[in-house]
């Protein structure tokens, strides 16, 4: 193996595909932490030049963790459509980038090729994309899904109503749900991150959210983002589960650190089809985020972008209703500042869409990262332009439980009204019926949670 180029007369050589993939990445503090980043900007660009000449076949032959050691690698590789793969395996990463961006390449053509991709191929082409490449490329790819309502249609932007409370108070959560609904947040899901992971507490909140959905006949689904094992118990006990949630990692070891494996998720998926109350057929909700594998020392010496791409390949197995990166949640040791968080948000959304999953984004940051609310609003505008399926809706962007900031209940209507986007169609019709929205704009009644006190 020889991986070498000259740049301005200087020679740069890379020992392995693994090293090349790390050094071709845009700057990330997590890759520096892992000792994988390029040591100069010239070396980074040299790595991109060499990577552009690598074939997709070489990337399939060099997974981040070997096939026989890792169930994530096996899930993704076993799912490759060999007929389509045989058509594209000779493409270089540079060819692949231009094919994706070309005028003659349609959304359907990309969705077809998605079925022959591995995480390593998806990550590699992303490393050659500029931010606007990522926006333009992602915008071409629409991935729709259906549970109670239809997500991902062109011209729509959904919002997860995230009404968390520091002690899981049902009354407090109900109040925040009313606020969110009054702004048009909740078409993606009413999704609570519970403090208490116990079955009784999770079941109680499932009942409460299901009751609100029934009382107001809201076209949406509920979800309690507890550990998947708790939701499995809840389903077996007959609790009303809309979507089944779990955080995923890009390697078998990483998933072990989350207390899951492929077999457990297969079982959860089967239970979801057996017990979830909505129409379906998409019942799963997954979250991800660059750096999670490294934080569990489960990255096997590979860069965080590649591990992230593998999550999307894994997630595809369970035909999710929605997947989002929680892009800035993990902290400055993986994404140091607003530049890195913005880049990662655009990368993750593009990679999810290229993999063929219905991708949204929790555009967020923590108080120890070098970022502000302005930066997250910028990212939301960029991602909306890229066709992102949904964002989070949180009261004033300040999550009262998770101690981080993301997009506000105000932001979905602001983005919709700025960019000509609409809520999911069933949900918009519901808002119009209640008089909370007219022609895509909030009415005078909107933005007042006490509206929901009269039923």
């Amino acid at each position: 193996m020889l991986l070498r180029t000259k740049l301005f007369g200087k020679t740069f050589e890379f020992k392995s595909v693994r090293e090349l993939m790390g050094k071709a990445n845009e700057p990330k503090s997590g890759d520096e932490l892992a000792g994988l980043a390029a040591t100069s900007i010239a070396e980074r660009v040299a790595a991109k030049y060499v990577l552009a000449e690598i074939t997709l076949e070489t990337l399939r032959a060099n997974p981040a963790v070997p096939y026989d050691r890792d169930d994530v690698t096996r899930v993704i590789d076993d799912a490759v459509n060999e007929t389509i793969y045989s058509e594209i395996k000779g493409w270089t990463v540079g060819d692949f980038r231009e094919w994706l961006l070309a005028d003659k390449t349609t959304a359907d053509m990309i969705r077809r090729v998605s079925n022959a991709l591995t995480g390593e191929m998806v990550a590699a082409v992303t490393k050659l994309m500029s931010n606007l490449d990522l926006i333009y490329g992602a915008k071409k790819i629409r991935v729709t899904s259906h549970c109670v309502n239809t997500a991902g249609l062109p011209g729509t932007l959904a919002s997860r109503c995230q009404p968390n409370h520091p002690v899981d108070s049902p009354e407090g959560i109900r109040a925040a749900i009313y606020e969110g609904l009054s702004y048009g947040s909740g078409d993606s899901v009413i999704g609570i991150n519970p403090v208490d992971d116990s079955l009784s507490s999770v079941a109680r909140l499932l009942d409460m959210t299901y009751d609100i959905i029934g009382t107001w006949q809201i076209p949406t689904q509920n979800c309690l983002l507890s550990h998947v094992t708790t939701q499995m118990q809840a389903m077996k006990k007959g609790a009303p589960v809309g979507l089944v949630f779990q955080s995923l990692s890009g390697s078998q070891l990483g998933n072990e650190s989350f207390g899951i494996d492929v077999g457990m998720m297969d079982e959860a998926y089967a239970l979801a089809q057996k017990y979830c109350w909505p129409t379906g057929p998409n019942y799963m909700y997954f979250e991800s985020g660059q750096g999670s594998a490294l934080s569990a020392d489960a990255h096997n010496g590979w860069d965080q972008l590649t591990l992230e791409a593998r999550i999307y390949g894994l997630a595809k197995r369970w035909k999710p209703y929605q997947v989002n990166t929680v892009v800035g949640f993990i902290g400055p040791e993986y994404l140091y500042d607003a530049i890195q968080i913005t880049r990662a948000g655009l990368e993750d959304h593009f990679m999810g869409k290229l993999t063929g999953i219905p991708m949204g984004c929790d555009a967020c940051y923590t108080n120890h990262a070098r970022a502000t609310q302005n930066d997250i609003e910028n990212l939301a505008v960029l991602l909306s332009a890229a066709g992102c399926n949904y964002f989070m809706g949180v009261p004033m962007g300040d999550d009262a439980m998770l101690a981080y900031q993301c997009t506000s209940f105000h932001d979905a209507p602001s983005l919709r009204q700025t960019l000509g986007l609409r809520p999911l169609p069933e949900f918009e019709a519901w808002m119009e019926d209640l008089g909370l929205m007219k022609a895509g704009v909030l009415t005078d009644k909107a933005g007042d949670p006490s509206f929901f006190l009269d039923r």
Partner: protein
């Protein structure tokens, strides 16, 4: 030349430079204001609880109901809107709360508090705060010096080892430790469990559980640690616990009690909850996902 003469020359040269470059213009002098005696702005503190509880919706459908909803949660609801955007007061309050959290991030735990509670201090391998933020791996390991101190000063093989780490919020430790430590120690004692020698680790991460238990070899090892600060709320603490943590243990092998502060999970309640959880771990010889499967 006398020293003060030199100083006078330097000052006059600097003054000329500043005047010519406009480097530090006194704007009040340069642009004297018109008579503004009638301009009087003297605001009450908008961060006080009563100010925060003011609804921002001008004509709510149900004013009493709105107040009740707002009282049910610390989340920022009932803030109102102008077009789709937040109103000015809610917008500025958010900026204030984020700002004060940024300013407090580097807060060091009160040394007097540690002394009062009889905790000696050791350090993780993250030598300073910036290294701590960028290198979590170093925050999970004790220095060799710290290991030597623990070997020397800590009781070995207790039923339960409790220690304290600053984590991402030293303010959380300042806020909660005085209340929770006695509850934990007395609760464990009356449950008939022996408690090891408590201590404090600076620049600490949860993963220190493994290194610490490698030395003290307790049945259950627990760290009280400051959480990542939330807006205007840097006082939230967590307890992470593991049954016989060892070098390969991860979060899946641990349990956590989070959001401990007076407005969240009260520290007294959290202490009692932790004692129960520890008893269960010892009974079932498991923690984390393993405990759930029992």
């Amino acid at each position: 030349m006398q020293e003060k003469d030199i100083q006078a020359i330097v000052e006059s040269v600097l003054a000329e430079l500043q005047a010519s470059e406009g480097a530090t213009v006194d704007t009040a002098q340069a642009y004297p204001a018109a008579d503004v005696d009638d301009l009087q702005i003297d605001l009450d503190d908008p961060t006080l609880p009563e100010a925060r509880q003011q609804p921002g919706i001008e004509r709510p459908i149900n004013p009493d109901g709105l107040r009740a909803l707002m009282a049910a949660t610390p989340a920022r609801i009932g803030v109102g809107r102008s077009g789709p955007r937040p109103r000015t007061a809610a917008s500025l309050l958010f900026l204030a709360d984020h700002g004060v959290t940024q300013d407090a991030l580097m807060h060091a735990v009160d040394a007097d508090l540690l002394e009062e509670l009889g905790l000696f201090s050791v350090e993780s391998q993250a030598a300073d705060r910036q290294t701590y933020l960028k290198r979590p791996d170093l925050g999970r390991k004790l220095t060799e010096a710290a290991k030597a101190v623990l070997r020397d000063r800590c009781t070995k093989n207790p039923d339960v080892q409790i220690f304290v780490g600053d984590g991402l919020s030293g303010a959380a430790i300042d806020h909660n430790l005085r209340q929770i430590m006695p509850v934990l120690e007395q609760g464990l004692n009356s449950a008939g469990l022996s408690v090891g020698t408590p201590f404090f680790v600076k620049n600490a991460r949860v993963g220190l559980l493994n290194d610490v238990n490698g030395i003290v070899d307790a049945r259950v090892c627990a760290i009280l640690i400051g959480e990542r600060p939330g807006l205007a709320r840097a006082q939230s603490m967590s307890i992470y616990l593991g049954y016989r943590p060892r070098s390969a243990s991860t979060d899946a092998n641990r349990d956590a009690i989070c959001n401990i502060y007076e407005g969240g999970l009260n520290p007294l309640e959290a202490g009692a909850h932790a004692v129960q959880l520890i008893q269960r771990m010892i009974r079932d010889k498991a923690s984390g996902v393993g405990l759930k499967l029992v």
